[in-house]
């Protein structure tokens, strides 16, 4: 098995156990892209570019939470019990997702990234997912509850979708 085949399988494994369906679908696209590229099949970069928003959204989530967190702590909002259970159920899965992605990322050497722009984008997206997963792993029930409320608002108002489109659009 080549390094890239291993990377593709590891991304697929991360996708299979990913608890968030949105991230799961994005990781599946990433794994399929690498798999097809290894096979020498021509494919549009558009599909890959479509999921190249994770880094910016994660940075935004981290900075928003740094403002929201002290307020949440101050108000003493308590997360419902179910949220604590969801967080603990997802924790192990997220920990494994991160481990698979870290291993997959190692297969993209500096030389390979310098030679091939597609693989540079893939490596960048993997880095972004690692960053996003680390962020999720660092949340406690109270912050997870607040974060989830913000995310749900973003989904409901289509704000997240619009932001993702703007980010990917700006990258061309």
């Amino acid at each position: 098995m080549t390094n890239l085949q291993l990377a593709s399988r590891l991304i697929k494994k991360a996708s299979d156990i990913q608890p968030c369906p949105v991230c799961k679908a994005d990781l599946k696209i990433l794994s399929e892209f690498v798999e097809k590229k290894i096979q020498g099949k021509h494919q549009s970069l558009k599909r890959l570019k479509k999921i190249d928003y994770v880094n910016e959204i994660t940075s935004l989530a981290i900075s928003s939470m740094s403002i929201v967190a002290p307020l949440v702590r101050m108000t003493g909002i308590k997360a419902p019990e179910l949220y604590e259970k969801i967080l603990s159920d997802n924790f192990e899965a997220n920990r494994q997702v991160k481990a698979f992605l870290v291993r997959a990322r190692r297969e993209f050497s500096t030389d390979l990234i310098a030679q091939d722009r597609d693989y540079a984008t893939v490596a960048w997206i993997i880095d972004s997912f690692i960053k996003a997963t680390s962020f999720k792993l660092g949340l406690d029930p109270q912050l997870f509850y607040a974060y989830d409320k913000i995310i749900r608002f973003g989904y409901k108002t289509h704000l997240l979708e619009i932001m993702a489109r703007i980010i990917t659009g700006m990258k061309g």
Binding site: C20, P21, V22, K24, L82, Y83, I86, R152, Y155, K156
Partner: protein
């Protein structure tokens, strides 16, 4: 009662008496649930997912007995 409902989703005819269709129904429902992830409240999504996983486990067990 839940299993009967899931069986109907996977069933191909009105008799709804096809072994294995229930399992397919659960897969379809799980996919549908994931499509609704962005609009459902997190706790509702989680509760339904737990139920479907439970149903999947029961159906797998049942499949093992009937095969």
């Amino acid at each position: 009662m839940h299993i009967t409902f899931i069986g109907k989703v996977g069933g191909q005819d009105e008799s709804n008496n096809h072994p294995g269709n229930g399992g397919q129904g659960v897969v379809e429902l799980k996919a549908k649930l994931d499509e609704l992830y962005k609009v459902l409240p997190r706790d509702d999504y989680y509760r339904v997912k737990q139920l479907l996983s439970e149903a999947e486990g029961i159906l797998e067990k049942h499949d093992g007995v009937t095969k």
